[in-house]
Structure formats: structure tokens, C-alpha cells
């Protein structure tokens, strides 16, 4: 019995004849931020889908909270932010938050508090009653993140959360992610922004359906004898 929140063990996934994930071994502990990096098409989204139980592993196993996925009830303990914004345009920000809140099983008494808190974190409190169709790209992204934060989930799975968010807000969001970690909650994050990868506790470099490297950012840089994660990424990809 470990304190692993996500445990991927020799995970493989095939779509028809196409093998997307070959052999993924990875674990996410309590109170940890793990960054999942890799080029487009490396299988980052597939890892997330299997972890959420939207896809079933073709080989190996994916466990979340020590339970083999897929498992519907567990989803209430996971906050998920999709790559696309995934919002209902015709509804206001508050209505979006409330709707997803009900779906997550947040009680009526808790709802207002939860919605206000999530909105405050992403700095949307003032725009909560506007329709989403009038939001800017960055605002939509923030609302999308707020939805993932609803209900203080023990595990956050964020698929490229900071795309289209300006630097000041990005810093604020990372600060919030840091405090979530300090509360003992866990975060799995995919990103293309390499300086964000530096902020993660551990980074998994995904390439060709395999985890090429999985360690602390500093350890990875030492291993590849480079100064930044970006260089690790490029070196692993064989660009240099």
C-alpha cells in the first residue's frame, strides 16, 4: 500500500491496429504535481483518458485511488480540465459552474461557496454573470479551470491549462496549484510550456508511447547534461 494516487503499471493502449501507448509506468503520489510533457501525438491525452476511465487499457493496469479504472463513482473525486474549453456558450459563467457542480455531486448548500471560491481563484468573480459567448479566450480558459477546481477534488487532471492565459494570471494559477499541492492534493498536468515543467515536482517525458524519462526536473537536466527541461525535451526527441 503506497500513497500513490495514480498508478500506471505497464499500461498499453491500442486503437485498432495503431498502438498509442506501449509501456507506461508512472505513479503520482499524494501532494505532488507531475508534468506530462512530450510532442503532439505522443499519447499524453490518451494517458489522461485511460486514467479517467474513458478508455480501457489494452494491457497493464491503471489505478486511481487504488481502484482499477474505469470506475464511475471515483470521478467525483477528480477535477478534470479538457484541452478544449468545453463550456456552454449560451449560459453564463455561474450557470456553467453550477451545472458542472451538480454533475460532480456538490450539495446545494455547498454550491454557492464552491462557485465563489473557484471563481475567485481564476479571477472571474466580476464576470460570472456574463454569458460565456461574450468571454475572451483567456476568460474561457480560466472558467474551464474553475470548473475543474470545483468541489476541492483530491486529484486534478489538467490538460494544457495555461494555454492562452497571460503571464500574470499564469503565475497566479501556478501559485494556486502550489497551494493545492501543499494541502496534500495531487495534480497531473500536461503542458507544452517548458518553463512550467520546471515548476512540477516530477516530469514524465512521453515519446512514442513510452515514458522516456520520469524524474525531478533537476535530475532530468543532469541526466541529459543540459540546463533546461526544454533542452531535455529536444535532446530526447533527437533534434540535436
Amino acid at each position: 500500500m503506497t500513497n500513490a494516487v495514480i498508478e500506471l503499471d505497464h499500461l498499453a493502449k491500442k486503437f485498432g491496429d495503431e498502438t498509442v501507448l506501449k509501456d507506461i509506468n508512472m505513479s503520482l503520489n499524494k501532494g505532488e504535481i507531475i508534468g506530462l510533457i512530450g510532442p503532439s501525438g505522443a499519447g499524453k491525452s490518451t494517458v489522461i483518458k485511460v486514467a479517467l476511465g474513458m478508455e480501457v487499457a489494452s494491457g497493464g493496469s491503471a489505478k486511481v485511488f487504488d481502484t482499477v479504472m474505469p470506475n464511475r463513482q471515483l470521478l467525483g473525486r477528480i477535477g478534470y480540465m479538457v484541452q478544449t474549453d468545453a463550456l456552454y456558450d449560451t449560459l453564463s459563467g455561474r450557470e456553467n459552474l453550477k451545472f458542472y457542480g451538480i454533475m460532480k455531486g456538490i450539495s446545494k448548500q455547498e454550491m454557492t461557496k464552491e462557485v465563489d471560491h473557484a471563481a475567485k481563484v481564476v479571477d472571474l468573480t466580476g464576470d460570472l454573470d456574463k454569458r460565456v459567448s461574450g468571454y475572451s479566450g483567456g476568460m474561457m480558459r480560466r472558467l474551464s479551470l474553475a470548473i475543474a477546481l470545483l468541489g476541492n477534488p483530491e486529484l486534478l487532471i489538467l490538460d494544457e491549462p495555461t494555454v492562452g492565459i497571460d503571464p500574470a494570471l499564469r503565475r497566479q494559477i501556478w501559485k494556486e496549484l502550489g497551494s493545492i499541492r501543499d494541502e496534500g492534493r495531487s495534480i497531473l498536468i500536461t503542458t507544452h510550456v517548458m518553463d512550467e515543467a520546471e515548476l512540477c515536482d516530477r516530469v514524465a517525458l512521453l515519446l512514442g508511447g513510452k515514458v522516456m524519462a520520469f524524474d525531478k526536473p533537476a535530475a532530468l537536466e543532469a541526466q541529459y547534461q543540459v540546463n533546461t527541461i526544454e533542452d531535455v525535451f529536444l535532446k530526447a526527441e533527437g533534434v540535436e
Partner: protein, 406 residues
């Protein structure tokens, strides 16, 4: 709880999309108004009627009616030939006291016009016959009265010599004349109600094209819009990622399907009520049966359409691909729904209609609107619709497994 929340959300989205909403409510009314105008304009159609051995008088009376031309033929075969060559639209043939009418019936409004012209012509003829009979009998009466007066005078003059025999004879004569005149009158009335038989070269006697189309049309609009809009809505959920996100919560797959059903069910009820009320009040279509039954059947049809739309939307990757289902799924339904008489098709073709939901709702609504059947008489049609609904709903709940495995 979650089902209700999904229903509320879908309804909110729908009612904020004013254009789509307008499409659902205004478009059917507009199209039906147009159709009723197009299909019910017999006042301006010109019809040519061929007659065989019909009295000059009837010919003349019908010829006097506007937009009606009468041509007299010597034999039936000559008239038939003209009918086949589309020179005339109908043949009226007199057999003794009875009339036999043959309609080309390629245009139902022309058939209606001929029927009307014939009826009017016949009434006009019989009225003039009655008139002349009446004239005859009134002149007879006047004569009789004069005779009686003369006789009374005679009687008064010959009061001493009571010529009772002569008086009796005169009275007898008077009653006799009277009875013949009444006889004449009754004879002319019996002549004015001849037996009329109708024959149709094509189709059968429908009260009117639009009246028959209406129940099916109503179902069609409900089916079409619910199918399209619900299919698009779920497609949008899929492409924007909201479905993924929804399925990343502990919500049950069935809750999503039922949430959609409830919201679109409500919308379909409103839509059906609006359509029914429009057709009844604006177009003056008579609903013999219960209007609530019509709404119930259309509601079930809407749910079938919804389940169908959601199911097919999983096979579409864009809105345009969803539109491509219209010629594949919607248009064939119209052909087999009963708008085109099924008995005029080959057997194997008309058998296809058994898998068309619109046929069952059309049959049921038709019976309710036109024949006044109760909803319980249509149990079979409703049952088939419900079977469609259950199967499609089940497939949808299973189908969502594509996006989440539990």
C-alpha cells in the same frame, strides 16, 4: 437530480437560442400556411367536363358555372379517349335516371371542382324542374278554383232543381285533376335525386389533399426539427468537449440520455400544441377526435426522433455531416409515411413502411383527426412507436460507452 439538471441546462440553452427556437415554431406554421394556400385553390382552376347522354339543360347549367367548360360526346368511348388525352378532366354519363362520374383525378382540386360544378348544375336543373312543375300545379289550381267557382254559381242558379249528380261529377273531376297535379309534383322530386356513382382513374376520394397530408405533416415537422436540433446539440457537446467533461463526472450515461429526453419532450409538447392550434384555428382544419391524444402521439414521436437524432449524431463528425442525414433518413420517411398512397406501390416497397416511425404516428393521428378514433383504438401504433423508443434509447445509453467505458 442530475437528469433534471441536464434537462434544465438543455432547456436554458434552447430558449436562449432564439433563432433555432423561431425555426421550430414559426417554420412549421409558415410552411403549413403556404401549403394550405397552394393545395386548396380550386376557385381558379379551369376544368373541362365531357358529358355523355346528359340532358341539354344540365349541360347548359354546368356551362354557366365559372371556370367550367362542358363538351358533349356521343359515345362513352369518345369521351374516354378525350379523358386519356387530358382534353377533359371528367366524364359525366347519364344511365337512365342515374349518373356515373369518372374523374381523371390527377389533380385533386380539379376533381373537387367538377364535383361541385356537377352538384350545382344538378341542383339548378332540378330547381328549374321543380319550378316548372310548381307552375303547372299552380296554374292547375287556378283553373280548378275557377271551375269550382263556376260550378258553385251553377249550383246557386239551379238551386231549385238540385242537380246533385252533376255537382258530384264536377267535384270528382276536380279531385282527379288535383291528384294528377300532385302526382306530377312528386314525380319531379323523385327525378331530382338520381343515384350518383363516382369513378377515379387515379387514386381515390380524399376529402382534399391537404386534409390528408396534415396529420402526417404535423408529425413530420415534429420529427424533423427534434431530430435535427437534438442531433446537432449532442454533436456540439461532443465536438466542444463538454460531453467528455460531462462524462468525467460521476454522472450516469442514462441520466444524460434522459435529461435530453425530458427537455426535448417538453419542447415537443409546446411545438405540437402550437402546430395543432395553428392548423385548427388558422387553417380551419377540423379535428374530430381529441386534441390531447394528438399531442400525446406527437410527443412519443418526438422522443423517437430525439433518440434517433442522438444515435445518428454519433456517426457524424460535423454539423454538415449531420445535415447529410436529411436526404438519407428524413426524406425517405416522408415517402413511406402515407402522404403517397402505399397501396399504389409494389408490395416489397410498401413493406419498407413498417420500419418508418412516421407511418405509425401518421396513421394514429390521421385516425384521431379525421375519424375521431380514441387514443386507445390506436394502441397498436403507439405500441410500435414505444418499441422504437425503447430500442433507440437503449442503444443510446450503450452508445455513450464509446466516450466513457463505465
Amino acid at each position: 437530480m442530475r437528469t433534471i439538471a441536464i434537462m434544465n441546462r438543455v432547456l436554458k440553452e434552447l430558449f436562449r437560442d432564439k433563432r433555432t427556437l423561431a425555426l421550430m415554431f414559426v417554420a412549421p406554421i409558415l410552411v403549413m400556411l403556404l401549403m394550405s394556400v397552394i393545395f386548396n385553390t380550386n376557385s381558379t382552376t379551369n376544368v373541362n367536363v365531357g358529358t355523355v347522354s346528359v340532358t341539354q339543360k344540365l349541360n347548359k347549367e354546368m356551362g354557366n358555372i365559372k371556370h367550367v367548360n362542358v363538351k358533349s360526346y356521343d359515345t362513352k368511348s369518345a369521351a374516354k379517349k378525350a379523358l386519356n388525352n387530358e382534353k377533359i378532366d371528367a366524364i359525366i354519363k347519364k344511365n337512365g335516371n342515374n349518373y356515373s362520374l369518372t374523374y381523371a383525378n390527377t389533380d385533386s382540386s380539379k376533381t373537387a371542382a367538377v364535383k361541385l360544378a356537377f352538384k350545382n348544375g344538378l341542383t339548378a336543373t332540378s330547381i328549374s324542374q321543380l319550378k316548372s312543375a310548381l307552375k303547372k300545379s299552380t296554374t292547375g289550381m287556378v283553373k280548378l278554383q275557377a271551375q269550382l267557382q263556376a260550378m258553385q254559381k251553377q249550383q246557386a242558379a239551379a238551386s231549385a232543381t238540385t242537380n246533385s249528380a252533376a255537382a258530384a261529377a264536377a267535384a270528382k273531376q276536380a279531385t282527379a285533376t288535383k291528384s294528377t297535379s300532385t302526382n306530377n309534383a312528386t314525380k319531379s322530386t323523385s327525378q331530382s335525386t338520381p343515384k350518383i356513382t363516382n369513378h377515379y382513374v387515379y387514386g381515390d376520394k380524399d376529402t382534399g389533399y391537404f386534409a390528408k397530408m396534415l396529420p402526417i405533416l404535423m408529425g413530420f415537422f415534429v420529427f424533423f426539427f427534434v431530430f435535427l436540433i437534438s442531433g446537432m446539440a449532442l454533436l456540439k457537446e461532443r465536438t466542444t468537449g463538454t460531453l467528455d467533461r460531462l462524462l468525467a463526472t460521476p454522472v450516469k450515461r442514462s441520466s444524460i440520455v434522459f435529461g435530453y429526453m425530458l427537455s426535448y419532450g417538453i419542447l415537443a409538447v409546446i411545438q405540437t400544441i402550437v402546430i395543432v392550434l395553428t392548423t385548427v384555428w388558422l387553417l380551419g382544419i377540423e379535428v374530430v377526435g381529441n386534441m390531447a391524444s394528438v399531442v400525446v402521439i406527437n410527443l412519443i414521436l418526438a422522443l423517437v426522433a430525439l433518440a434517433f437524432g442522438i444515435l445518428l449524431s454519433t456517426f457524424a463528425n460535423s454539423e454538415f455531416q449531420m445535415m447529410q442525414f436529411i436526404p438519407l433518413v428524413i426524406i425517405p420517411q416522408v415517402f413511406f409515411s402515407g402522404i403517397i398512397p402505399l397501396d399504389s406501390m409494389a408490395n416489397w416497397v410498401s413493406d419498407i413502411s413498417y420500419i418508418i416511425p412516421l407511418k405509425y404516428s401518421g396513421d394514429a393521428v390521421n385516425a384521431i383527426i379525421m375519424r375521431g378514433s380514441s387514443i386507445f383504438d390506436e394502441g397498436w401504433n403507439i405500441l410500435v412507436l414505444l418499441v422504437f423508443l425503447v430500442i433507440l434509447t437503449f442503444l443510446n445509453i450503450i452508445g455513450l460507452k464509446r466516450y466513457r467505458k463505465v
